[in-house]
């Protein structure tokens, strides 16, 4: 029985130790905002924060996550969609199909927490998530807009 600290609450997960965090979140904790896109840490649809760091949850077994590590998913990023990244995303209509956007938003939020005023080069380096609809330019614009909105980390 694994104990995970998800969005500020400790939950017990009755899953085999090799179960990736992604599937523990989706199938055991019931948080489906974090998506499965590839299972090999390529696409970033499964991105969550662990202690504030970006983590691709599809290749991280729950046996390697401790109860003291704070996991934040898209559902826990803000209680009401008010995180500056989410606000900017809505203002610019960033998502298309939206399936990759939980991961995009989590990656963007972590970047801004680390670098409140990221350059284009910072964004290039941090935002390696795959979007097949092609939202990249609006993702970039959204990050700059959120930065202007004043994330101080």
């Amino acid at each position: 029985m694994a104990r995970l600290n998800v969005n500020g609450t400790v939950v017990e997960v009755n899953a085999s130790p090799d179960t990736p965090l992604l599937w523990a979140l989706r199938d055991h904790v019931g948080l489906t905002g974090t998506k499965y896109g590839c299972g090999v840490a390529q696409c970033g649809a499964c991105t969550v924060h662990i202690d504030g760091q970006v983590m691709r949850s599809c290749t991280l077994p729950i046996s390697e996550v401790t109860e003291t590590q704070k996991i934040v998913t898209i559902e826990g990023l803000s209680p009401d969609g008010s995180h500056p990244v989410q606000v900017a995303w809505r203002a610019l209509d960033v998502p298309q199909c939206g399936f990759c956007q939980s991961g995009m938003i989590m990656a963007a939020a972590a970047l801004l927490a680390e670098k409140p005023r990221p350059t284009d080069e910072d964004i290039d380096a941090a935002m390696t998530n795959i979007c097949r609809c092609g939202t990249y330019n609006r993702v970039r614009a959204g990050i700059h807009q959120a930065a202007r909105g004043g994330i101080t980390g």
Partner: protein, 727 residues
């Protein structure tokens, strides 16, 4: 387990009111908002098939086309709202089911969401649906007041009796309106009077895509639900010879180990991870058959043979190109090729099915609800009236979800576990090797030139795979696949060539492979535009002509094609020196009812590294319903098109596709994305699509710019296989 905030969307019973015999299920749906299914019948009477107005004035507009990111939901809602005169801030939407459509004589028209036709093919009847509802709402208010309807007007969901200033809200009269006879005459506004169409309204579905609350098919949960993970024969056409179910049956959570039809197996377990890992451990022996001997080289050789074959289907013929080329002072010839591509939508294939001997319900993302219903019913062994398909928003489609092989397997799995909701989910690996692929083709182009370098004849011989012969063989025309000639046709709305040549022959030697082809965003335009637009560039350089000037000479009879080409040329500064190290390319094409052109600025480093700096794209789609959505589709088209150009390639080894995930089928990432400047220039009078057209000029514009930068003509994609260092 401790309760979590935001843990899951609220639950509501959705199946209430569905056809008799339906399994009553609660399942997770968004707690509120635009994305539900049709409300239970009888709850709030509809004004008509398209419009439901609640007593609190909430407007629910019904959708037959699917939303997969292309913005059709918002565009269609704008068109209904334009005529309904409703308060836009109160608009939500809901999907109708194909079962409801069947019961109501297709009241909502076609469900097919492909070919960039969601807006343009339904624009007339959805606007009339909105107008008819407005007329009835106004009449209901007039009846309440006992005044002629002509004295009343409607705006922002309020009916006003002009002489007295009395008002009634739509919500107050909707129930009465619903009882009125629909009007016989439903005039539509002239485009000049539009106030909603043409506006960049924010999308209706963005908010739930920023919080993780939107429930995709892959996210569905139902009480008692199990998860199935299937695997088909890796070699197309192969069959299951045997599998050792006992080897995995005792694993945690595993409930069933099943054969699915002739060609697949599946493990059904409590969770995805349990099913997936058990499937990985399941010993399966396949009977791969003759197809296991097919290699990529086998296919390439077959296509090469077709380039000079005597027999070919003619797509466009003007004059006598063969004779003109034979008698030409000079000839130019080149062979191009285009590989298999996987759609690779971010959400792998999935469907949730509850099957009983008398009823089958399906929840899935599909681009065609009606085709999904037909496929599900056939697989279920039930009449369509005993089946329904409840659509979920798609995590990408790009054509993959217009065909339902994955749904058929999901029904065949659920049929073996009656009464239990089974969510069948593909792994990314399954999605990659069981795709329906962009067809593979080659093309030999031969031009005859006179002594002045003017083109006297052009022959384009396409050799390769036909989509229709696999997907809709009955649509072939005496064996000829008309879709093969997209963008090269002598006329028509779907892809007319933009040039006039003195003599022209475009023909197709059909060479089909065992790899199943399908419609893939942009379809045959993708390679046809590369073939023609890059070859024209070759002719221009071989004859010392400016590529734009050469095109203009050939485009005198094609003003709309020329219009978009001129627009991008002007914006990019064609004819003026580009910044140091930057080189330009240009291309145009017409397809899916729209005219598009692109100009690209690229640089290539001494070590052969390509950087695409800037793209200017112009679209003439006749009517622009939502300019911002069009810009998003144009930007997205470049990501899709440039992904294919840079990386996209599926290859065959021993009859199976070699690429199994994004590590071997890479796609464009944000850092590689150029700046895109979109020119939306609707010239009016026609309705063109926007989801696909721009993709077709992405690759040729960049390839032509690469030639300008390097002097190297790349005739085979993707570029990952090419050395771009200067010649």
């Amino acid at each position: 387990m401790a309760p979590l905030d935001n843990a899951a969307p609220s639950r509501r019973g959705l199946m209430k009111g569905a056809a008799a015999g339906a399994v009553l299920l609660g399942f997770h749906l968004p707690s509120k908002g635009a994305l539900g299914q049709a409300a239970p019948a009888g709850q709030v009477p509809e004004v008509n098939a398209w419009v439901v107005i609640h007593p609190d004035d909430r407007v629910v507009l019904r959708m037959a086309r699917s939303e997969m990111g292309q913005g059709t939901r918002t565009g269609l809602a704008q068109m209904i709202a334009e005529e309904l005169h409703c308060d836009w801030s109160k608009v939500t939407t809901e999907y109708v089911t194909p079962g409801q459509s069947l019961a109501r004589n297709r009241a909502w028209g076609a469900f097919l969401t492909a070919g960039s036709q969601g807006i343009r093919q339904s624009q007339d009847y959805v606007r009339r649906g909105g107008a008819a509802a407005r007329i009835m709402l106004v009449q209901a208010a007039a009846n309440r007041w006992g005044v002629p309807a002509e004295q009343c007007s409607a705006r922002d969901s309020v009916v006003t009796h002009t002489p007295t200033g009395r008002t009634l809200r739509y919500g107050e009269v909707a129930a009465e309106a619903a009882r009125l006879t629909p009007p016989a005459e439903v005039p539509l506004k002239a485009p000049g009077a539009w106030t909603v169409i043409g506006q960049s309204k924010p999308r209706l579905d963005t908010a739930e895509k920023t919080t993780g609350r939107l429930v995709y098919g892959a996210d569905l949960k139902m009480p008692g639900m199990l998860v199935a993970v299937p695997r088909r024969s890796p070699v197309f056409g192969g069959r299951v010879r045997s599998f050792d179910a006992a080897a995995v049956r005792g694993r945690p959570g595993v409930r069933h180990v099943l054969q699915v039809g002739d060609s697949a197996v599946a493990v059904v377990a409590d969770t995805f991870w349990q099913a997936k890992t058990a499937l990985d451990a399941l010993p399966v022996e396949w009977d791969s058959g003759e197809n296991a001997r097919v290699q990529q080289a086998t296919i390439d050789a077959m296509l090469t043979e077709g380039l000079d074959a005597a027999e070919a289907f003619v797509g466009n013929q003007q004059g006598d190109a063969r004779a003109a080329i034979a008698g030409a002072a000079r000839r130019i010839e080149a062979v191009y090729s285009y590989p298999f591509q996987n759609h690779a939508p971010m959400e792998p294939m999935n469907a949730t099915v509850v099957w009983t001997p008398t009823r089958c319900d399906v929840w899935c993302p599909t681009q065609n609800g009606e085709a999904a219903l037909a496929a599900a019913a056939q697989a279920a062994g039930l009449p369509q009236t005993a089946v329904d398909v409840h659509r979920m928003d798609l995590g990408g489609g790009f054509g993959r979800r217009t065909t339902h092989d994955w749904l058929i397997d999901a029904v065949l799995i659920a049929k073996q576990v009656p009464g239990v909701p089974i969510k069948t989910m593909w792994t990314r690996e399954e999605d990659m090797v069981q795709g329906r692929y962009h067809p593979v083709t080659k093309c030999k182009l031969t031009a005859g030139l006179d002594a002045n370098g003017e083109i006297t004849g052009l022959h384009m011989r396409i050799s390769g795979q036909s989509i229709l012969s696999f997907v809709f063989p009955t649509a072939l025309q005496n064996g000829r696949d008309p879709v093969q000639f997209q963008g090269l046709n002598p006329g028509g709305t779907e892809g007319a060539i933009g040039y006039t040549f003195p003599n022209l022959l475009i023909d197709h030697a059909m060479r089909n492979t065992h790899v199943p082809p399908h419609f893939w965003r942009g379809v045959n335009h993708n390679q046809n535009a590369i073939y023609l637009e890059c070859f024209l560039d070759e002719i221009a350089h071989a004859t010392n002509q400016d590529p734009l000037a050469l095109r203009r000479k050939l485009m005198a009879n094609h003003p709309k094609h020329l219009g978009v080409l001129n627009a991008v040329a002007e914006r990019i500064g064609w004819g003026t020196p580009p910044p140091a190290g930057i080189h330009r390319g240009i291309a145009q094409q017409m397809g899916f009812g729209s005219y598009v052109a692109a100009a690209a600025e690229v640089s290539v480093s001494n070590s052969g590294e390509l950087k695409i700096h800037r793209i200017v794209a112009a679209t003439d789609c006749g009517v622009a319903v939502n300019p911002r959505q069009i810009e998003m589709q144009v930007e997205g088209s470049f990501v899709y098109g440039l992904s294919a150009l840079l990386y996209g390639e599926c290859t065959v080894k021993d009859g199976a596709i070699e690429q199994t995930n994004f590590d071997t089928y890479n796609v464009l990432r944000l850092a590689e994305m150029p700046k895109v400047e979109t020119i939306v220039m609707p010239s009016g009078g026609f309705w063109g699509g926007v989801g696909e057209p721009t993709i077709m000029v992405a690759a040729p514009a960049v390839l032509n710019a690469i030639f300008a930068a390097t002097g190297k003509r790349i005739r085979s994609v993707p570029l990952k296989n090419e050395d771009l260092r200067r010649a």
